[in-house]
Amino acid sequence: MTQYLVSRLLQSIIVIVGVTFFAFMTLQLAGDPTYLYVSDRASAEEIATIRQRLGFDRPLHEQYITYMTRMVQGDFGTSLVTKMPALDLVMTRLPATIELTLFAMILGLVLAIPIGILSATRRGTPLDGGIMLFAIFGQSMPSFWLGIMLILTVGLGLRWLPISGHVPVLQPLLSGDVGLAISNVPDALRHLILPGITIAVFSLSRNARLIRSTMLEVLSQDYVRTARAKGLRERSVVGRHAFRNSLIPVVTILGLEFGFLLSGVVVVETVFSWPGVGRLVFNSINQRDVPVVQAAVISFSFLFVLLNLLVDLVYARLDPRVRLN
């Protein structure tokens, strides 16, 4: 277990170093990276000062060391537009993004499980066919388009749910105002539904298909036949014996899922004017605010690696094959 832990930790560090190295090289590919850190109107002296301050006038390996040192200290440069530290901008918007991602993740998983099981146990029926048709459609739509369609129909047509805006829960919670956080929940949920569904539909479809196919596989195993043979009710065969084992591949993709949802967030936040990191990235792209884009990309990657590590460790705890090895 300790050996696994150490090697897994090492692997995560390598990935983080790889990501930052890649980001560093990308900046170098642009020619003189200084120009990415100054606005278009900067004077020659200004550019020279910044070049010196960021160390872009020194040899490449020294530049890399400076780059990494600054990053470890949380210095991702300042925004070209607002002149605020890039990382601060990302961090203040992170809670809204995490709320949305978590909500979508819960939606994608909680709904996928019963749907997948239902589809597997009613295999070949019109219900199964309908669910699978829905699932393949869900995997073929650009998520932001689904968002636009939901805005048009549910939001503007039926006027059931708000199409933009965000009511914070995590933010007051982090600043200690639990009362406000709790009283915000109902309104926050109303605002979460449309963007949440939009992000979740792809993974919901994929998970439902995944659960269905593993469930079908599990249901044909010997131990399921044994369970049936000893006269267990179908409900406990499916619920207690088959279901648990069909969850294994789902747990495996949990970590990847989060990263996948995070990348969907960038576009969907833009569609719903959600004040999170995704919309910040979108705005920064349009203003060519490279330090902010970089800070967002690297902190997302960091979060992703961290979560994957966590999921793997939990998985290792749960799975005796890894734990005992």
Partner: protein
């Protein structure tokens, strides 16, 4: 399994002297397609979209970039002065014909999808084949590189690269292509390892074939089937990624009509009720991706049923 796919029509002579022609892979594929309804429909849809992509300029009723402020935001089936329908699918906020832009957009989506997958597939297969065949340190290096790339969501780095280097068809295709290599490398490696110990490879060694020749002439044809299956799904996901990047303004230049770009433009017109600007490009993307997914499902069952559920 893979060997059967690669073989052409063969004349088989039975012990009793009778001969018959074994059906070629193409023939079997055609029969299987005819039996399955939906993959056939998907194939037709894709063929139609490809046709639009290739012959777009000849088919499109109007110049997709011609602006006409007087007839801006016209709803679908708007009639012109002569009483005939002038804008079948309406016009956008600059008065450009939606139908023509849609037809031109097919070209970019398909081009980006297939070329990016081609780049990723070739790089990934070469690296995976090399890693699996030689093993050892080469294998270790290539696979660690793959682990690193899988360690973070690639679309984020694609955003980073395109912001820094600027967007454009070439950069877009390269970035999306390089983003795909890992999948191919992993599968090619695994398949190569399982083929490496087979007798035909041993035989090739013993008659003095070079490593390169064994890799490309003997092993590669036998590991192609799963790679082709992955590629068909991959084109679909690359098209979706391209639409997302275009939506973010990181796709091709605004003068080139793309489905993702059209959707991005439609966002500002939603409150005004111009639904057609959002509906049609989305349907176009969905039809293309859906067809590719259905065809991919069929191809998997036909070529390599082991991948089912993967």
């Amino acid at each position: 399994m893979a060997q059967q796919v690669m073989e052409s029509t063969q004349v088989v002579r039975l012990v009793n002297g009778q001969t018959f022609v074994a059906p070629s892979a193409w023939l079997r594929a055609r029969r299987s397609l005819m039996r399955a309804r939906w993959p056939l429909v998907a194939l037709f849809i894709l063929a139609a979209i490809a046709f639009l992509g290739v012959f777009g300029p000849q088919i499109a009723p109007k110049d997709p970039n011609r602006q006409n402020i007087i007839s801006r935001l016209q709803p679908p089936f708007t009639e012109g002065r002569s009483g005939e329908v002038e804008f079948w699918l309406g016009t956008d906020s600059l008065g450009r014909d939606v139908l023509s832009r849609l037809i031109y957009g097919a070209r970019v989506s398909l081009l980006v999808g297939f070329v990016a997958v081609g780049i990723g597939g070739v790089i990934g297969t070469l690296l995976g084949l090399t890693a699996g065949y030689f093993g050892g340190i080469v294998d270790h290096l290539i696979m660690r590189l793959a682990d690193i790339q899988l360690g973070f969501p690639f679309i984020l780095l694609a955003i980073m690269v395109l912001v820094v280097l600027g967007s454009g068809v070439l950069n877009l295709v390269l970035v999306l292509g390089i983003g795909q290599w890992v999948t191919y490398a992993r599968i090619a490696r695994g398949e190569t390892i399982s083929q490496r110990e087979k007798e035909y490879v041993e035989a090739a060694h013993s008659v003095g074939m070079s490593n390169v020749r064994i890799m490309f002439r003997s092993i590669l044809p036998n590991i192609l089937a799963p790679l082709i299956v992955i590629a068909s799904f991959n084109v679909a996901s690359v098209i979706l990624a391209e639409a997302s990047l275009s939506f973010l303004g990181l796709g091709v230049p605004p003068t080139v009509p793309t489905w993702g770009g059209m959707l991005a433009d439609s966002r500002d017109q939603l409150l005004g009720g111009s639904w057609w600007l959002a509906v049609y490009p989305g349907v176009a993307i969905m039809l293309t991706v859906l067809s590719l997914n259905i065809l991919g499902d069929w191809l998997r069952d036909f070529l390599d049923p082991r991948l089912r559920g993967a």
